[in-house]
């Protein structure tokens, strides 16, 4: 399914890159004096799953936060449907169909599951019941716990809630920051399955992961970040085959 955003109406005639949804051009981001992102170019096409890989502190989270407007780049442009969106605050960007599932889940712990999902639909006048049903079908565990306080859910359940909450915003582009972190293998599998499912239903996904094997298995394309810059990029299969990747991120050379 596709969501209608205000942006689509306005950006009707943008020519060149019909299928490009998101584009980063020479983006540089600073924390105070520290440059965390040192000029990144990145493209996400409509309907894709793109994986963003890299070690600790490579700048993956920072990239996502820049896209969703939590951070502002000091140089470069962020474009959605070929329109600049850098400089727009995160709460406004939600209206453009970008939803971000932050690192570490960050559910509203003193709200119930249901209230958390309602928060996800904050930008609409009232939450869409059908959407909520869809989320509950995707995550039956949440359905069981709809009136439990989110803070008392287990890690996996919280991750599901965080994703469900983002889906309530009917995203065109879903940003996922390490959805598998701290989750049991079985749950990781489930989450990845769900991501695939969501993508099939029409949502474009930008996925940040440490878990390179699984992420690349899921994604169409991947980017590898190293200390704030793109070190490698290409279709998943290519990346998976690359020996450098296998050594550095799949732990093979040493194993």
């Amino acid at each position: 399914m596709s969501t209608t955003t205000e942006l689509e109406k306005g950006a009707g005639g943008a020519g060149a890159s019909q299928d490009t949804l998101l584009e980063l051009r020479g983006v540089r981001v600073f924390y105070g004096a520290v440059e965390a992102i040192k000029g990144i170019d990145l493209t996400v096409r409509k309907g894709e799953i793109v994986a963003l890989l890299g070690g600790n502190g490579a700048g993956k989270t920072t990239t996502l936060r820049t896209i969703s407007g939590m951070l502002q780049p000091r140089h470069g442009e962020v474009r959605l449907h070929d329109e600049r969106i850098d400089g727009i605050k995160s709460h406004e960007l939600v209206r453009f169909g970008i939803n971000h599932v932050p690192e570490g889940r960050r559910v509203f712990s003193r709200m119930t599951v249901r209230e958390n999902l309602e928060m996800g639909a904050y930008r609409f006048r009232s939450p869409d019941a059908a959407e909520m049903d869809r989320v509950f079908t995707l995550f039956p565990r949440l359905a069981e716990r709809r009136s439990q306080l989110a803070g008392t859910l287990s890690g996996g359940e919280q991750q599901m809630l965080a994703i469900g909450r983002a889906l309530m915003g009917k995203p065109e582009l879903l940003l996922l920051d390490e959805p598998s972190m701290g989750l049991a293998p079985l749950i990781v599998q489930q989450i990845f399955d769900i991501v695939e499912e969501i993508n099939k239903q029409g949502t474009t996904v930008l996925l940040v992961e440490q878990n390179a094997t699984q992420a690349l298995a899921l994604a169409n394309r991947g980017y590898v970040l190293e200390t704030g810059a793109v070190a490698m990029s290409g279709p998943s299969a290519e990346l998976l085959a690359d020996s450098r990747i296998r050594e550095a991120y799949l732990g093979e050379g040493a194993a």
């Binding site: 969703s68 939590m70 605050k89 995160s90 709460h91 406004e92 939600v94 209206r95 939803n99 971000h100 932050p102 960050r106 509203f108 712990s109 003193r110 709200m111 119930t112 209230e115 309602e118 928060m119 996800g120 904050y122 930008r123 009136s147 439990q148 306080l149 909450r165 915003g169």
Partner: protein, 307 residues
């Protein structure tokens, strides 16, 4: 103390307590979104009283206005008080707290800023309007209207009770039923993520202050009619209301109401039993006792309804 007398004091206590409750809500709301003990809220309250005073002085009710005019004056006073309070709270947030928030300053810094703002504001009020107390121009004849189990209630007291109840019910509805309410609750738990959901944090924080200011200012006007208006009038009710917010469970709106009523009653009952000089001791002993047994207050910390 006879039963009738007990009722008498209880009624007084409830009246005082309902003012505390309305002020306490201001503390609790702000605490909810910023985890800040907004010491300057007592000045919001004080300026609310001046707002009412100014409005009534300008409009100048005659000696004993008729019923309908009285109602008009009361509404005017309330509105002016609320407006002054809201304006003060809004300004405080914008000038003093927002820069700190932007910078992610530690909470202690907020606290000292609040204290500084409080000093500034009440002395500024003293400078602007003089440091002597002023009686609130009487907008109505303060007659006895009815008696409950032998306890008399006069117009002021009824007015206080009624407005307090209306304000509390209204607020409860705003927080639990409206979008702003869920915004407030979300920001209070994780402001950054609330932003990701489309909540405009600045707006929500600002509006929270404004709501707290509206209530605080209106309470200031009511308290002013009840006692008198003075530049340092905010301090004692402020501290007591803050204690009330904590007793109820800070961050919890219903807790603030409960705490306010409780401290009002305790304080008032202390007077006939132990003597007027001990009234605040009563309130603070209750505070400490409650916290000993319920470390997060009677209703616990939570903004909004329980799950």
């Amino acid at each position: 103390m006879s039963l009738v007398e007990f009722w008498d004091y209880l009624v007084l206590g409830v009246v005082l307590g309902s003012i505390y409750a309305v002020i306490a809500i201001g503390y609790t709301l702000v605490y909810g979104v910023l985890q800040l003990i907004n010491f300057a809220h007592s000045e919001v309250f004080m300026l609310g009283a001046y707002g009412g005073l100014i409005a009534l002085t300008v409009v100048a009710p005659g000696d004993s206005p008729s019923g309908l005019a009285s109602a008009g004056f009361v509404v005017l006073g309330l509105v002016a008080g609320a407006a002054f309070g809201a304006l003060t709270a809004y300004g405080l947030e914008k000038v003093a707290y927002r820069p700190l928030r932007r910078r992610g300053a530690p909470r202690l810094i907020f606290l000292i800023t609040a204290i500084g703002a409080s000093f500034f504001l009440y002395n500024l009020a003293g400078k602007l309007f003089g440091r002597d107390p002023l009686p609130m121009p009487s907008a109505y004849e303060n007659k006895k209207v009815l008696s409950v189990f032998g306890a008399d209630l006069n117009v002021t007291q009824l007015l206080l009770l009624a407005s307090a109840v209306v304000m509390m019910v209204g607020l409860d509805m705003v927080v639990n039923r409206t979008k702003l309410g869920s915004g407030i609750r979300a920001v209070s738990q994780d402001a950054e993520v609330a932003g990701l959901m489309g909540v405009d944090i600045d707006k929500v924080v600002s509006r929270t202050f404004v709501i707290g200011g509206l209530l605080g200012g209106a309470a200031g006007f009511l308290y002013g009619t009840f006692t008198q208006v003075k530049f340092d009038m905010g301090f004692i009710p402020g501290i007591t209301a803050f204690a009330a917010a904590v007793v109820g469970g800070i961050g919890n709106i219903r807790g603030a109401m409960l705490g306010g009523l409780m401290l009002g009653v305790v304080e008032t009952l202390t007077v006939p039993i132990f003597g007027g000089e001990w009234r605040h001791v009563g309130a603070f002993v209750v505070l400490i006792a409650v916290l000993m047994f319920r470390p997060t207050g009677i209703l616990g910390e939570r903004v909004g309804r329980t799950a």
